[in-house]
Assembly symmetry: C2
Homo-oligomer: 186 residues x 2
Amino acid sequence: MARKRTLDRMAVVAAAAELADRDGLERLTLAQVAERLNVRVPSLYNHVDGLAGLQRDLALAGMRAATDTLRRAAVGLAGDAALFAIADAYRTFAHEHYGLYSAGLRAPAADDAELQAAGAELIEVVIAVLQPYRLDEIALIHTIRGLRSIVHGFVTLEAQGGFGLPVDCDESFRRLMQLFVGGLHT
Amino acid sequence: MARKRTLDRMAVVAAAAELADRDGLERLTLAQVAERLNVRVPSLYNHVDGLAGLQRDLALAGMRAATDTLRRAAVGLAGDAALFAIADAYRTFAHEHYGLYSAGLRAPAADDAELQAAGAELIEVVIAVLQPYRLDEIALIHTIRGLRSIVHGFVTLEAQGGFGLPVDCDESFRRLMQLFVGGLHT
DNA sequence: AGTTATAAGCTAATTCTATTAGTTTGTCAA
DNA sequence: TTGACAAACTAATAGAATTAGCTTATAACT
């Protein structure tokens, strides 16, 4: 058996991300990751702190990828257009990387500064997009909570097959966002 | 070793529901359920079809309990008041029975008529409450999707500690629902 | 270049989980 | 009272995570 050094943390996380996106985060096992990397399960522990640690690393990767996606989507746009753009980008990201997306949802541990910072950075993007609406500090928080609820709720229900009827989901999402943005102007 | 007959399906599901509410659905194990019922794990199989079957039964129980809660909340109310009432009731239910609530989320299997019927019944309540708004068939579907997204998104983010800042969550929810209902009138 | 310390990957063993097979025995109905 | 059924059991299997400890490739330092 060859014992060449082939792994590093990034390779492990990348393999796990693929599997989680394909089969769902809850189905992710170290055994699968190891098999995909042609390695024995205990070898993973040299790069990742067990299954829980791997999930945390996935969460970080997910947060950062989502943040990057949102930033790119908002570039060059402002106001309602920017808001619609980041909402669409978020939804698309969740569809294409549902495993990473799911990993990013669990609240970070209180002592996990890195993960908390990544979360804060994502919120920063939203705050920037909401700038033109000139909300006071409290209203801003309520608004962000509302926006997150809408987008997260829609995306997860959609991904779990909650919208069974043959009616266009894109249209549903557009109307919901329209409603939200409309309310923002009053 | 006493071998009295003590179990039935309801007892197993009830014990599982308590554990899932307390520790989270993903932490639920047959071992825990068996221990709580003073029984060996394989005995559970006489009443429940393994872990997957138990989760399905939990989903059914969760759906029915949620439906019941919403019906009670809407009784005697109409229009906006009824809409706010069922939204609040749904949120409260999710807080108090997060395990059951989580179980009810996964889309039912295509051949599981009982579970699908329970889901349809829940939707029926929402449809009834939306009656006064006189939406056409398509608009009704978009509206239900929006409402579910809002409430589900808010509730899950809240339950997972996604709203860290010290700002009143009740107020956030009220504003969001206000925005939704406002949009419904235009 | 040769040597050595480190760490990567391995095997082996433990524990916890779900699941199935097959046995025993309490319970209910004839 | 008895006999069939079903409930609860024991035992065994399989797959997952994790830890301990061994071997050896690799890279750093003479």
